[in-house]
Amino acid sequence: MPSLATSPRSDADIFSEKVMADPYPVYRELRDAGPVVHLERSDVFAVARYEEARHVLGDWESFSSADVALNEQFNQYIGDGILRADPPLHDQLRNVLAARLAPRALRDLAPDITRRAELLVDRLVAKGSFDAVTDLARWFPVEVVGDLIGLPREGRERLLPLLDANFNCFGPENARTLASVPQLPELAEYVMTSATRGALTEGSMGKAVYDAVDAGEIPEAVAPWLVMTYVTAGMDTTVHAIGHTVWLLAEHPVQWDALRADPALVPQAFREVVRYESSVQVFGRTARVDWNIGDVTVPAGSRLAVLYGSANRDERKWPDADRFDITRNNLDHLGFGYGLHGCAGQALARLEGEAILRALLRRVSRIEAGEPVRHFNNILRGLDSLPVTVVTD
């Protein structure tokens, strides 16, 4: 493998708690080392710079997502799921999701999501002090998305730990993955028994998957897995984004004041949260053909780890990249991925995050945050706890 001789190498363990506590210095080392860096511990090429990450995500024909997980066992487990699929199957599945998740499909939902955010934030603000993760961020997406998918209320409380385990399994075969694999059957059992054709509520996004089967748009066999996609992709990613929103705006009171003065900045501010602390830090790809980048050739068949969290901090792309700035031009961040497999639920995530943010802005003049407790997951970046006191005057 001549490429290994020319590609820079690193023995950094980006999945260790030590690195994950503050991954950004290591990400910078990887970006500075070259356009791709061979991570020797997991035998993958890290794609840590913005332009290269965007290139890989944007070209599904050259870079397959069949190895979206960084271990073979879980890729086999996902099977023909939408994350791994190519067109035409991918497009059939995506169309079912997009019919319900595209902005035009969500318009009518906005008032209800806003109302729910107002109710929740009202209740918490009245308490004065609460935990922005366990009382707010973990509550809202599970309720909102759970209802939209059409899941029965009973059993939802089991979901978040199972979804967290599911995301861990996208990582390399490390201790965190191995500890999470035994929880996969419980998640599958939940979907197969609680999210069935009969149990999903009428008119829900979950039910629409089975309507698509009946209409001959997708094969029957993929339906439970597509419902699984709604459940696994749509909750804890948004949980972490909302937790980071509260944390970052507590840490930047001047920007909080700017947002209060001009709430039209809310979409840009939520995007900046997703850029600055991306819920999804990494997903895998495989080079289908030799990839010549600079003086390095990544041979066909090589596995890549696309580092979204690093690309979103690349100083080659972002002026003053490590500065949280709600007024920066951040339309083309990679926090939701990009291209064919770009997050299908990004409009819904924005709707939820912006609703919570607006509800807080209307009531709270200052957020005082205590010490955040970092959550560790192979793929996701988020918090376990964030004690806050809110000031209303």
């Binding site: 902005p103 339309l331 990009y338 770009g342 997050c343 299908a344 990004q346 409009a347």
Partner: protein
């Protein structure tokens, strides 16, 4: 990969999901109609607005917006 010629914005409607980031990036060149479908308002991109067109292309989360050049493809 880098095309210097001025070209035309084109939308792959099979991929477009109506996020509207293109309109936010380049309202001078295109807008979304009532069905969230992009409508190209400026057929030929004037050279002075090429950076704006590039920004719109980059802003599309699903890579549905492209610039097709008038010259023959390589």
């Amino acid at each position: 990969m880098e095309q210097r010629e001025t070209g035309r914005l084109s939308v792959d409607m099979g991929r477009c999901e109506g996020y509207g980031m293109c309109q936010q990036a380049a309202p001078e060149l295109l807008h979304l109609n009532d069905d969230d479908e992009p409508v190209i308002d400026v057929a030929e991109i004037p050279p002075t607005q090429k950076p704006l067109a590039d920004a719109a292309v980059r802003a599309c989360p699903v890579a549905a917006l492209n610039i097709s050049t008038t010259s023959a493809p390589a």
